[in-house]
Amino acid sequence: MQTSTTVKRRPRVSASKRREWLTGYLFVLPSALIIGVFGLFPIAYAVYMSLHRWRVRKGAFVGLQNYESIFGDWWGALAFFGGLLMILGAHWLWTDAFRREEGTVPFVGRLLGALALLASGVSVSLGWRLMTAEGDRRFLAGLTRTVYYGFTAVPVQIALALVIATLLFQKLRGQELFRMLYFLPYVTPAVAAAAVFRSIFSPRPERPANTVLEWLGLPPQQWLFETRPVSRILFGGLLDRLGIELTGFWAGPSLALVTVIIFGVWTYTGYNAVIFLAGLGNIPKQLYEAAAIDGATRVQQFRHITVPLLSPVTFYLTVLGFIGTFQAFTHIYVMRSPATRDAIDTASVVIFDTFYGLNNFSLAAAQSVVLFLIILILTLMQNRFFGRRVVGV
């Protein structure tokens, strides 16, 4: 430090300031190098790989050919992704585009918003149909399973966690014990937990899942080996009598995939509950006191104080949940077996297989870029829908 005062004769930036800058850069350097090389550079390199023919060794530049083999039909892809983005536009029409100064939205805004939402729905399903006709069915089916997984597991685990957190919050004895037990699945190594689940949800009649069914007087199930959709197993007879045949997306997840979803819920509910519990602790008690004086019931307090003030936490957990389920890999990979066939192969498992099983590196890279884009759009959507309704703390 002493030397820095003697050599400050540079015109613009003093030597001591330069030293300060240099220290800053040096401190950041190790982290920036590691995250840059193993976190950021791979994205650019994945895009680069996806533009070549690349099976184990690099081949010729092929432009967008790998993407074409995923989407099959460019118009389909355009309709699908355009439809997704249009949902954002519909939301904007519904809430903001025609908003009057006093904050109300006229009928025309609501109407246009609803129409745009309808149009985007048609566009998405049309695009999807075009894509599945010609495109990479393995990957697209994997994406469907990922969507089932995310859109069932995330709401269920958040709802359960909210219930657990509210119950725990009322100063019960043993709060810490319960919190510890509920949190345990989150820290458990997924490989080991999935190995245990494989055994619990085995199709053999003496295993726990089927034993419980027997106690309830229900027939044993194939669980992880069951590739038929749950709707078929539960309501097959009824659907046949009504002459309804659910196919494709509307048939819903298979029982094997539901088992994977149960695993996801089991892992993350406790984690979400712990975060909710901390969020509940941050809500000022005076609000409830004041509401009680004004005659608000417990339910009203929950609806008008707890839910809005927890919304930043809910938002955070939803974003985290979707990013987590869309890239989930370990437990699904471990629960796979030959009898499961492709019933639980979500997009990330398909990507791994394209690389590991088929040795098609460039296609795997293209698939991973597509998955990344979808996660990005999904996060943008959540930000648009919930991000601003969130009450700042």
Partner: protein, 299 residues
């Protein structure tokens, strides 16, 4: 309502203080809540109970729908331990995790400190770029990273089946940097000014003043890194083609097919894999859950 607020707050504070001192008072209205929580906890714990119970059974007992073993077969653990070379995997996991934790603590305290307390051009932009990496799925990065470790991207030779391949990519993460930055920003500037007068630079200030004050956040960072590193699966599966540096998780995965129908041995292997994490968790669970809750909230 504003004139009501002040006495309410005071009364609330008094009541809170009393509630903290008073012993727990049982109320009938709590019974449904307890019931729901106990049922939930039993469901949540049942995989663990099944795992431990089955790991102590004989092969015959595992296929005979028994809840508990007649006499605990502790020998299963010894059999599993020697059959799958768990000793080697265990040692590997311990070394890998220790190296990753050391690396993360060094790189992330430095970076977190710089982002919190040193001013330099481009600081906030660099920070935002690093934070954005939290959104990137591992499924996008694993393939290029694997080629890199094989030495096919940057010609630094192959790192396959070496300790650096398993540790270096994890030696810094944006989330832990963020944790440290948030904590370091709360340290008063006066402390630094005083240290400067004593002739200390940033590094001295960080190591001798800031870090001793930062035990809770260092603890949280250590525990988070421990769990993440111990539970890592996809990456070690890819870069360990021989058992030399294979960690427990991958070892257990290969054991699934080796154990085949011998569920009791597989469950013993699962217990061996889970036990270290559970031990650390039970010993530190208060800091652990609280650290995660508060750090999670600020994210």
């Amino acid at each position: 309502m504003s004139d009501l607020a002040a006495p309410t707050v005071a009364a609330e504070a008094q009541r809170d203080a009393r509630a903290a001192r008073e012993p727990y008072e049982f109320r009938l209205s709590h019974v449904p809540a307890y019931l729901a929580l106990i049922v939930g906890a039993v469901i949540s714990m049942s995989p663990f109970l099944y795992m431990v119970s089955t790991s102590l059974m004989t092969l015959g007992e595992t296929i005979n729908r028994r809840l508990l073993p007649r006499t605990p077969q502790w020998v299963n653990y010894r059999t599993a331990w020697s059959e799958a070379d768990f000793a080697l995997y265990f040692r590997n996991s311990v070394i890998i995790t220790a190296v990753v934790i050391a690396g993360v603590l060094v790189t992330c305290t430095l970076a977190g400190y710089a982002f919190a307390r040193i001013e330099f051009p481009g600081r906030d932009a660099i920070f935002m770029v690093l934070l954005a990496t939290l959104m990137i799925p591992g499924t996008v990065t694993f393939l290029p990273n694997l080629l890199m470790v094989r030495g096919q991207v940057i010609p630094w030779g192959s790192w396959m089946n070496t300790l650096p391949a398993l540790t270096v990519p994890f030696m810094s993460t944006a989330f832990i940097i963020f944790l440290f930055r948030q904590f370091f920003m709360t340290i008063p500037q006066e402390l630094y000014d005083a240290a400067r007068i004593d002739g200390a630079g940033h590094l001295r200030f960080l190591t001798s003043v800031v870090l001793p004050m930062s035990k809770p956040v260092v603890m949280t960072a250590t525990l988070l890194t421990f769990v993440n590193s111990w539970n890592e699966f996809l990456w070690p599966l890819l870069v360990t083609t021989t058992p030399r540096w294979r960690p427990l998780g991958v070892g257990l995965y290969t054991f699934i097919s080796e154990a085949g129908p011998e569920t009791h041995l597989l469950m013993a292997g699962a217990v061996i894999t889970i036990l270290p994490v559970l031990l650390v968790y039970f010993l530190t669970q208060k800091q652990f859950t609280e650290g995660i809750a508060t750090s999670g909230l600020k994210g």
